[in-house]
């Protein structure tokens, strides 16, 4: 069980499902403060997730979406994803961690494991971890 997101195995986790660089991701809805359509304003102050993770796949259809992440600091961490997919619930026990061999490298990118909302796999990303690594 992941201690970051869940306090126990029976606890449910609210996740935002989205895609960036052709890869499906899920993020804890509690870390996200706002969801808006990215209209290109303040482009130098946002982070494109696909560029951050090095994903070079196709963006797909739909307008890019701007996530406002709750970091507790004055300055909001703003992440742009290619497309917003869904809002779902996943039990904490259903989170699948990475193998130990690749776990260190995955955590370095803010990735905790793999979930299967609606039966489809998606990478579980920690925006707060990613925001801290960005600052450091």
């Amino acid at each position: 069980m992941n201690q970051v997101f869940c306090d126990g195995d029976g606890e449910w986790l609210h996740l935002m499902r989205f895609s960036a660089g052709g890869i499906a991701f899920c993020a804890d809805a509690g870390q996200i403060e706002s969801v808006t359509v990215f209209d290109g304003a303040d482009a130098d102050r946002v982070v494109w997730l696909r560029d951050e993770l090095g994903c070079r796949g196709a963006a797909g259809q739909g307008a890019p979406v701007l996530f406002g992440v709750k970091t507790g600091a004055e300055r909001q961490y703003r992440v742009v994803v290619d497309r917003m997919e869904d809002f779902c619930q996943v039990a904490c026990r259903e989170i699948r961690p990475f193998p130990p061999l690749v776990e260190r490298f995955a955590l370095a990118k803010g990735l905790w494991g793999v979930v299967f909302p609606a039966g489809r796999p998606a990478l579980l990303i920690d925006f707060l971890l990613l925001a801290r690594k960005k600052r450091t």
Partner: protein, 560 residues
């Protein structure tokens, strides 16, 4: 056998003399013989007359006895009456019944059937002569008593006046024939002697006459003729030679006339020489011309044959053309009717094209209007999509808020989820509508393009149809002209066929005439060639004559 003229004259003289002597001799000998025969005949008549007088005298004695004596005594007397060696008297009546005869078996019997071996009925004939003439003599053959041979016998009978009886007697005259034979032998001896004398004298006179004739013939005929013959024999075409005139008779006249004719011949040969030269020249010219004419006639004959053959082929071709042109006329009539029908159909087609074009134009306008409306719908759908997207974002934010609110925001989260789902549904629906509208627009575009293409094609079809109508109209005129021309061609080809047939017949006549002309020309050429040869021969012959004083006939090719 060759005989000289003197021999012929002598033969004629000999023949005449011998014939004359022979005729005279034959006539004289015949006269001598006739005289002998006359002598023998006179002797026979004399002897026969004596016998007739003898038997007539005996019968007259018997008649007198029967006239003077009673009949019975007369019968006895006559029965016993004999004269000569075995002469007797018989009496019969006019019924041929024997009254008195030395053989008593015959008395009282009918002797009308008595006849000799030559068929002479003796008693019947005697009775007939006495009935008609009162008397008569009869010769017949009868067997002499004591012999077998049938000998000539002469009987005489006379009617006994006032009795109705006939008295007659007969005498054998075979002794007269014996005497005549002897007399004939004697006469023959005398005649031979006389003839011998006559012939001898005649022969002697004839020989003397012939000897004299031979001498005269040689002197006056043979020798002058030999002189003329010698001159003519050695004539050798020498027209200066003269025949000697030795006599003043016909032979001398013949020699004179020969000299005269030689002189005339001299002139004639001189003239013939010139004429021959001209004939030779003209013959050569004619021969050359005839040769050229013969060659030309051959070429003409070949040309006529070739023309005739060509015209026959032309006639055959004209027949085929006439036949085919008739077929062309039929096809042209059919084509004219079809073309008129086709023009009418194309005009109808043009009207249909116009109607279709108008319909397509209207449809195209409506389709364009429909496409415009579809685009308006698309813009509406974009607005709806924008609203749905904003609604979805609001729903996401609401869901975040609900998740932040925990249990209190759970129901709000459900509402947010539903709103987001509705927004998704709207987006999906608008996407589908957009897809459908896009499909409709694509279809409309394709339909517009297709309609425009169809409209262009119909316009092109209309243009083609108009062209086709114009072409068909022109074609109808052309086909009518073609049909008329085909009729004219058919008539012309038929006339041409007839004309070519007549030309073929005329060419065959010409060919025949040219053939005849060629043959005639060849014959004429041959004849002229022979004329050249003959004129050359004639010149050669003329050159053989000698005209004297150094004159000779002119050479061929000399001055005319």
């Amino acid at each position: 056998m060759k005989m000289t003229l003197s021999k012929k004259v002598l033969a004629l003289i000999f023949t005449s003399v011998i014939t004359t002597v022979t005729v005279i001799s034959v006539m004289s000998i015949a006269k001598i013989v006739s005289r002998g025969e006359s002598r023998v005949s006179s002797l026979r008549e004399m002897l026969l007359s004596e016998r007739k007088m003898q038997i007539k005298a005996q019968v007259q004695m018997a008649v007198q006895a029967m006239e003077k004596l009673p009949l019975a005594e007369a019968k006895k007397y006559l029965k016993l009456m004999r004269y000569g060696d075995n002469g007797y008297i018989w009496v019969n009546d006019f019924n041929n019944a024997m009254i008195v005869h030395p053989d008593p078996r015959l008395e009282g019997k009918d002797q009308s059937g008595l006849r000799d071996q030559n068929g002479v009925y003796i008693i019947r004939e005697i009775t007939r002569m006495c009935r008609e003439n009162g008397e008569g003599y009869l010769n017949y053959l009868w067997r002499k008593p004591g012999g077998e041979a049938m000998l000539p016998k002469l009987s005489y009978a006379s009617r006994v006046p006032g009795t109705g009886l006939i008295a007659g007697t007969g005498i054998y005259i075979d002794d007269i024939d014996r005497m005549i034979v002897k007399e004939r032998e004697k006469v023959a001896l005398e005649t031979r002697s006389e003839i011998m004398q006559y012939v001898l004298v005649s022969f002697t006179i004839s020989c003397l006459f012939l000897l004299l004739a031979t001498v005269l013939v040689r002197k006056h005929i043979s020798n002058p003729v030999l002189a003329i013959t010698d001159a003519v024999k050695n004539f050798n075409n020498d027209l200066t030679r003269k025949v000697p005139v030795t006599t003043g008779d016909e032979i001398g006249e013949l020699a004179s006339w020969l000299n005269e004719h030689i002189s005339e011949l001299h002139k004639v040969i001189w003239m013939v020489s010139g004429v021959t030269e001209n004939i030779f020249s003209y013959s050569a010219t004619i021969s050359s011309s005839m040769g050229q004419q013969s060659d030309f006639a051959d070429q003409l004959s070949c040309s006529v044959v070739e023309i005739s053959s060509t015209m026959e082929e032309f006639s055959s071709t004209a027949s085929q053309i006439a036949l085919h042109s008739q077929g062309v006329v039929v096809q042209a009539d059919k084509t004219l009717a079809d073309t008129k029908h086709g023009a009418s159909e194309v005009e109808n087609l043009t009207f249909k094209f116009n109607e279709i074009s108008e319909d397509i134009s209207q449809n195209l306008d409506e389709i364009v209007a429909l496409g415009r409306k579809s685009k308006e719908i698309n813009r509406i759908m974009e607005i709806i999509n924008s609203i749905a997207s904003q609604t979805k974002m609001i729903a996401f934010n609401a869901a975040l808020e609900a998740a932040s609110a925990g249990e209190a925001g759970k129901r709000f989260g459900v509402v947010a989820v539903e709103i987001r789902r509705l927004a998704d549904s709207v987006v999906v629906s608008t996407g589908e509508i957009e897809s459908k509208i896009t499909e409709i627009l694509d279809a409309l575009n394709r339909l517009v393009m297709s309609s425009e293409k169809s409209s262009r094609m119909i316009m092109e079809g209309q243009e083609y149809a108009r062209h086709t109508v114009a072409l068909l109209t022109n074609m109808v005129d052309g086909v009518e002209e073609t049909t008329n021309a085909a009729h004219q061609i058919s008539l012309s080809t038929q006339q041409q066929q007839i004309a070519s047939s007549q030309v073929v017949i005329a060419l065959k006549d010409i060919e025949q005439g040219v053939r005849y002309s060629t043959d005639a020309t060849r014959k004429a050429s041959s004849v002229t060639g022979e004329m050249v040869l003959l004129s050359e021969q004639l010149k050669s012959l003329v050159m053989t004559f000698k005209l004297g004083n150094g004159e000779t006939p002119r050479e061929p090719g000399g001055d005319k």
